[in-house]
Symmetry: C2
Subunit: 329 residues, 2 copies
DNA sequence: CCTGCCGCTGACAACGTTGTCAGCCGTGCC
DNA sequence: GGCACGGCTGACAACGTTGTCAGCGGCAGG
């Protein structure tokens, strides 16, 4: 910038004014400065700008895994909103590890991101408090902050979605419906389990703990659990899987078994669910909506909005493709 | 930092030394400083550090779309290598738009990223030259830089991979093999088409232009092209699709037609290809390998390595799952 | 003619670090 | 006792911007 000023025969500050489109510069002078900028190929140093102004025009996004379709759709939606707001996105994968999440968030804060969108892996975000006090804005997505942390959050209607799925299966004649969910320490998994129990209860069907299995979506575990359930004297005639990976794992295990297969409804849509035979009936959640709304809440606060923390629930919707409409034998 | 210095009763510079683990500080003093740091919750301002040192410990990644499985796997691999090297990743989606790519790259450069990994959308990277001269390191992934731009690049063995696929189909008795590729202006699409022609020629089978269709992976276009080809007097008995999205589109179109279906080999593996019936035979490319190797090349250069630009080809491998082993009728 | 104002420009400090260099003190050697 | 040296510490400038304030000349109004 100094060089540009010299080349254009003006002071540093005038160049700064031109670069920032500040008013009060003689058009002729401005033109001369712009010419010098082009000639020298000058580009503003953002780091210095940040140091002086305090805003980085960068937000941080912490998700579980950038390569997971659910989160990468969320990532994309966040990126789109950020671009519209002139911001860039630093993304990090927490691998569902609270320590890694904390490390990422703090590193982002060191970089002075303007705001954070976090899919929390842990339940203790005390480490966030100093940053929040320092003016960093944070929004939680997919899972809420623990009580006491008063932040905006965007969630799916987990219980309601699972409820829709259970009702759908009941409508198709099922009463023995198994639920295969992720580890109940994960907020969404717990909510979905709750939705399952509530819907059964509402239909007057007693929940049977032997038809419930909660844990990580490994294929071995899934094989064991399905085998166990299907060998029961009154086996489930339908399965409800609690997230996309569980659905896929269940499909893989079922593929190793002879028909007839139980009906299946999966929470979370996934690509190609329509190409499998029968098509997989799913409860679609709006992953990009999650990202979009979270980013919008964030930028609203960044542009000065204050107000009580909001908690937004995005609706899910059931897509019938065949697997959920199989009747009980 | 000033506050910490005051609190610990030392000079600014001593705090800086402690924070950076520089040698030559009395352990007692260091302990006092560290205590003050903890007490005040001090965190170093990275922007100021960057301004002073010139290194941001951040790299930029420009891909086509963060939500595309191929690119998000690449993204994850880059992130992993970056983390191991103490760096963060700024990611942007170019949407296959050269102008957007340029904008992203220049914005990243304004932020003084140490290096760039680019999946180029366009063929003109003249805009990169000033940045390269200014010391930014760039590595291309999936597609090479245009001649004259002497940069490291990591590519898949596109022609060889398609060749494998063609040979596989020929081995299963096919001689009428159609090729459905993306727009030939895309480097990988052109290379794959070339591999197709070469492999046919090597087998002594004349290429038939009526069995070749190059263009974007829209379902309408795919439907038209497949209908046209399958209505020929001597229709193709096998299809080779040039990327993941084309494969999926072809599967969707085929699903609307009565059997028997032509054999199918798709370039690029995709999740659930094993759950479709018959399983989809693919030529798997190593998308995370692409990201990993590109990031490794980048960090090698960032740590001082100089040397001629390298061009690395990653092998592909064929995974037979059923659809590519269907015999001709 | 003087005053006040406006449009434009520039000098200077400040943002929070780190690199450079100088200084202090104690120790060991001549 | 004088000197060199090493371990430790600190003062200061610099990185490239932007915010603040002051200054300049011209013009309108009193």
């Amino acid at each position: 910038m100094k060089d540009v000023a010299t080349a254009a025969g003006v002071a540093l500050k005038t160049v700064s004014r031109v670069v920032n489109d500040e008013p009060g510069v003689n058009p002729e002078t401005a033109a001369r400065v712009r010419a010098a900028i082009d000639r020298l190929g000058y580009r503003r140093n953002e780091s210095a700008r940040v140091l002086r102004r305090g805003r980085t025009a960068t937000i941080g996004l912490v998700i579980e895994d950038v390569s997971d379709p659910f989160y990468s759709a969320l990532n994309r939606a966040v990126e789109d909103v950020a671009t519209r707001n002139g911001s860039l996105v630093l993304t990090g994968s927490s691998a569902e590890n609270p320590a890694r999440e904390r490390e990422l968030v703090l590193t982002f804060c060191d970089r002075r991101v303007d705001g954070l969108i976090i899919v929390p892996a842990g339940n203790d975000h005390a480490y966030l408090l100093p940053e929040l006090k320092a003016g960093t804005v944070a929004v939680f997505a997919d899972r809420p902050p623990e009580p006491g942390l008063d932040l905006d959050a965007v969630l799916c209607d987990n219980a309601g979605g699972v409820g829709q799925g259970v009702e759908h299966l009941i409508r198709h004649g099922h009463r023995r419906i198994a639920f295969l969910g992720d580890h109940p320490a994960i907020f969404t998994a717990a909510e979905r389990l709750h939705g399952y129990r509530t819907a059964l209860e509402a239909a007057g069907i007693p929940a049977d703990d032997r038809l419930i299995s909660m844990g990580p979506p490994g294929q071995a575990r899934m094989a064991v659990e399905l085998t166990r359930m299907l060998a029961l004297p009154d086996p489930p005639t339908a399965l409800l899987t609690g997230n996309g990976r569980l659905t896929v794992t269940a499909l893989r295990v079922l593929a190793t078994r002879p028909p007839p297969h139980p009906a299946l409804v999966g929470f979370d849509d996934f690509e190609l669910s329509d190409l499998i035979v029968p098509g997989v009936t799913v409860i679609a959640q709006n992953s990009s909506g999650l990202g979009r709304v979270a980013a919008e809440l964030l930028f609203r606060r960044l542009s000065g909005h204050t107000g009580p923390a909001r908690r937004i629930r995005l609706p899910t919707h059931l897509i019938a493709r065949g697997s959920g409409e199989l009747p009980p034998p």
